[in-house]
Symmetry: C3
């Protein structure tokens, strides 16, 4: 039940993140384009995860609450867009909350399907970030996950922690919110203090490299 | 039976649309690149739909008529390319016919798999436009669906109409062609009279935004 | 058993190819970005193939040897990166070996799932090249398969040959390595002697077309 509600909340934040990103670019997005970018951002990661697991039916196809959550989030974006945008880093924050929730949900569902623990961590990561990869690709950006500071590292940390906690028989209803918080806080601190993984080859970091 | 043939016809038009788009760009496409772009445009939407539904086997893997339809369309493109290109808006027209057919086929198949009606509409849209999204991404364009005037709106209108007609027990063999025509005519009129959804944020429409 | 080991070897070479490509670009890739690009390059084609076939569970989700192979390849890339890069055409060579192996593995698995032979050839091609398409899209290049000389042609030749040899009851343990070699040698010779398919429309080959 907790996971069901967390899923709806994750969907909600991802929709706002996707809609804002579409609006934020100078590409020629009409209302539908903004809605659809939000929609794909929201369902992209979970859909890919379920397709990889062979977990049919995919949730948003059978559970209309997910679509209702997306529509509410889209309307919230429309109505409050100026307020949302004025708060700096909003897109970042909403994306981070979505990513935190979805990483753990992805690990949880993968383990239900008897995926090996290492693959479950990666699948948690993929289900968390793939919506954002779609979003960034659609608006012709290099996906955030590849271009920016600590991001996946936070997800992987949280996912490994969650897998370990389940292994230690800790109640998922406690472990899940805890690990989601770890991811979200880790990511926020990383941005605030500009933590970053070392670059693979610093020589390539010319000024136009971002 | 009607749906089987409509599928082949949709495949045919999508292949031409994809092949022409590849040829139309100044990227370095050889014959294979043109064929493969046409192929992916043709099967992309239906394949994603079937993967989302868990509807195995995917049709083009088991029914070789689909591949034959693609090959014939590719040869037609090769032979008549100059004539086809001279007719202005040909790419647009072929894409529109494919989209009209595929939207309704997508809704139909989704409902067979007991998807909720709202999700069936979205899945109809996705199966109609995803081939074009692949095509546009491969040739490094912003996908038409996001960048241009009324497009998805036409699909959604037709899809909602079709779902409603089925609910009212209207024969699918009548409802399907009717709704496909609605989509195609709607889209053609929208382009002819430059109808467009309001932009999400007009301030972003700088001259270089397209 | 042969196929199992060939799969691990293909994964190994694709990981190096993906990691090197990420490192080679001036985009801002940190270590994780390089690893993840290598990972997606390695598993992309096989995952898409298995999802299209409905072949669950997807191998890397259940067999941790695949992930171990990816990690070893990534470490090899890290340790020997300067040596690897100094050898010109290394990226090309590793990609080619991966593509050769994966084409035949893709055809083999597709035929196991009773796909029609023509579709098996295309699915072999897709499973071989899709990882590279992901890699090139992630680093914002036009996918190699569309932009460069003979490439898919080599895969298709090998795939058709393999399908024919199976039809003639030749032992797969002999046919597979033979056809993989054909693909690899074909591709190397094509590049060495600058063989290319005729362009679809030579008039478009302006100097900036690549």
């Amino acid at each position: 039940m907790l996971f069901y509600w967390l899923n709806l909340i994750g969907i909600f934040f991802f929709t706002i993140s996707g809609s804002l990103a579409a609006r934020d670019k100078k590409h020629y997005h009409d209302y539908f384009g903004v809605f659809f970018t939000g929609f794909l951002t929201a369902i992209g990661g979970g859909t890919l995860r379920d397709m990889m697991l062979g977990a049919y039916p995919i949730s948003w196809l059978s559970d209309s609450n997910i679509l209702i959550s997306i529509i509410i989030a889209f309307l919230v974006t429309l109505i409050f867009k100026n307020a949302i945008i004025r708060l700096r880093r909003t897109l970042f924050l909403f994306d981070t909350i979505g990513v935190g929730i979805y990483t753990i949900l992805g690990v949880e569902k993968s383990l239900e399907y008897h995926v090996n623990p290492f693959a479950a961590v990666i699948l948690g990561l993929i289900s968390a970030v793939f919506g954002g990869v779609i979003r960034d690709t659609l608006i012709n950006e290099i996906p955030l996950i590849f271009a920016k500071e600590i991001y996946a590292t936070a997800c992987i940390t949280g996912a490994v922690l969650y897998t370990s906690m389940l292994y230690l028989q800790i109640d998922p209803n406690i472990a899940a919110p805890a690990c989601m918080s770890v991811i979200i806080i880790f990511r926020i601190l990383a941005v605030k203090y500009k933590l970053a993984l070392p670059k693979f080859d610093p020589g390539h970091n010319t000024p136009d490299s971002l």
